[in-house]
Amino acid sequence: MKRRLFLGMMIVVTLGAAPASVPAARLVLVTDAASEMPAIGSTEVRKLFLGKPLVKDGLRIQALRNETNDLLREVFLQKVMFMSARDYERQLLSNVFREGGERPAAYDQPAPLVEALRAKPGAVTYMWEDAARATPNVKIVSELWQGSLE
């Protein structure tokens, strides 16, 4: 019981936290450790997080939005999606209205996000690299961006 509590606290602390006092940060795409996830390119990541369908090696990939930390979300939208939060939300809405489908589910708590990665085959999300390495049962699929946060 204590071990599970400790694990849960570790996930909460590490998943959303920005890399403190580290000038260079790395944003990575992650999935469940047991997943047979193929490599996903940056173009495909953008399509995926805009709600477009993506199938790789027969696996339907599903995007999950990591809303556990404002800075993380901001960096993901600016550096990976190349748009503001408002433009992103509007674009998602517009795509779904035009083509159908579903907007990527958003998680504002770390534990449900990690649980969703585990429960949904083909699910991916984004994290800081150090958070990903510190989170049990999560593996890195690819690097999305690296640079200075200052």
Partner: protein, 355 residues
């Protein structure tokens, strides 16, 4: 009257809701709107009111079940003709691959840019109104929906640019006073034949949404009254949307040819319609826009005679302010010319998307 329309609308909505499954995660989005329209100088014979308050809501549903994709859209709008509540879209799609979907059902016709990019869900578009050629109600001479098959496909390269294709074939509207489109919940409502449209666009990848393309359509539009047997309509056109930083330009051009078969003898005509809208975003919360629409060769066109409230020419300017990330308020002023009237119009609209 409105109570009856509302009751019929709600009955249709309940029937639609019963048809659509509710999986654990599905999109269910409400697009409410409040419109106040003020017109000055409308001629007495024209069927347009000087003051109109038009509240409405567009109810959108979408879900994925493996490769099966379901989509439903229902609109209730006060004053909408011929019915206040209509099933706008009801489609079942099959994802052949991630870039190709084949749909069956009532769908938006791939004419131009506006009809598929912006339809109902006013919150999504900067302007209050749509171009007259593809407007809602009885004034627009082109079909906004077909009921049948729609194939959508995209082929993009590594730089995310590429081609998009849309091919639509299905039951076309009938012509009477305006177009009467196929009602998916009332098969016996008017006459219908068939129509087909192909659209091809090239889009540039990345964060901007620049695209250009062309489309071609052929429609058989049966008459809904004794004075008309059928209209054979050919439509050719081009579209474009260009975005760079704070500026956006979008436009369409249509060439429409009609051969009218009627008991009194055949007639034919053709006209060109163009529209161009420019938008400027001085701030994330504000959009300033202006649009010009014009029709060439439409005077005395026998087909346009069935559309007395068709907007042949319009110049408008407006402003959109985002009250919150999902609510907008828009103010638009326009100089409008119909075939036999000219007036000014002010539109004030609140619109939103929830959630």
């Amino acid at each position: 009257m409105h109570t009856d329309l509302c009751r019929r609308g709600l009955t249709r909505l309940a029937l639609l809701a019963a048809l659509l499954p509710a999986p654990a995660h599905a999109e269910f989005i409400l697009f409410p709107q409040l419109n106040q329209v003020e017109r000055r100088g409308v001629a007495p014979g024209i069927n347009l009111e000087e003051h109109e308050f038009k509240p409405g809501v567009d109810i959108f549903y979408s879900s994925d079940h493996g490769r099966l994709r379901l989509l439903g859209e229902f609109e209730i709008l006060r004053g909408k003709k011929p019915k206040a509540g209509t099933v706008e879209r009801l489609q079942a799609g099959w994802l052949l691959n991630p870039d190709t979907t084949v749909w069956l059902g009532r769908h938006h016709t791939p004419f131009g840019y506006w009809n598929t990019e912006y339809h109902h869900g006013s919150y999504l578009q900067s302007a209050v109104t749509r171009p007259g050629i593809i407007d809602f109600g009885s004034g627009a001479p082109l079909a906004r929906h077909l009921t049948g098959l729609l194939l959508e496909s995209a082929h993009a390269g590594a730089d995310e640019s590429g081609l998009r294709y849309s091919f639509s074939v299905g039951a076309s509207p009938g012509v009477g006073s305006g177009l009467k489109e196929f009602d998916i919940l009332d098969f016996n409502d008017g006459n219908h034949s068939w129509g087909s449209i192909l659209r091809v666009t090239h889009h540039w990848g990345g964060a901007h949404h620049t695209e250009m393309g062309a489309f071609a359509g052929y429609m058989l539009l049966p008459g809904n009254n004794a004075t008309l047997h059928e209209v054979r309509q050919t439509v050719l056109g081009a579209l474009g949307n260009w975005e760079h930083r704070r500026v956006r330009v979008l436009g369409e051009a249509y060439w429409v040819n009609d051969i009218i078969d009627r008991p009194a003898g055949n007639a034919s005509g053709s006209f060109i319609n163009v529209n161009l809208q420019v938008e400027y975003k001085p701030h994330e919360d504000w959009v300033l826009y202006a649009r010009a629409e014009d029709t060439f060769g439409g005077d005395g066109d026998p087909y346009l005679g069935f559309f007395p409230t068709f907007i042949e020419q319009r110049g408008l300017a407006g402003v959109t302010y985002m009250l919150t990330p999902n609510q907008a308020i828009k103010l638009e002023a326009a100089d409008v010319r119909l075939q036999s009237d000219r007036f000014t119009q002010i539109n004030l609209q609140w619109s939103a998307a929830f959630p």
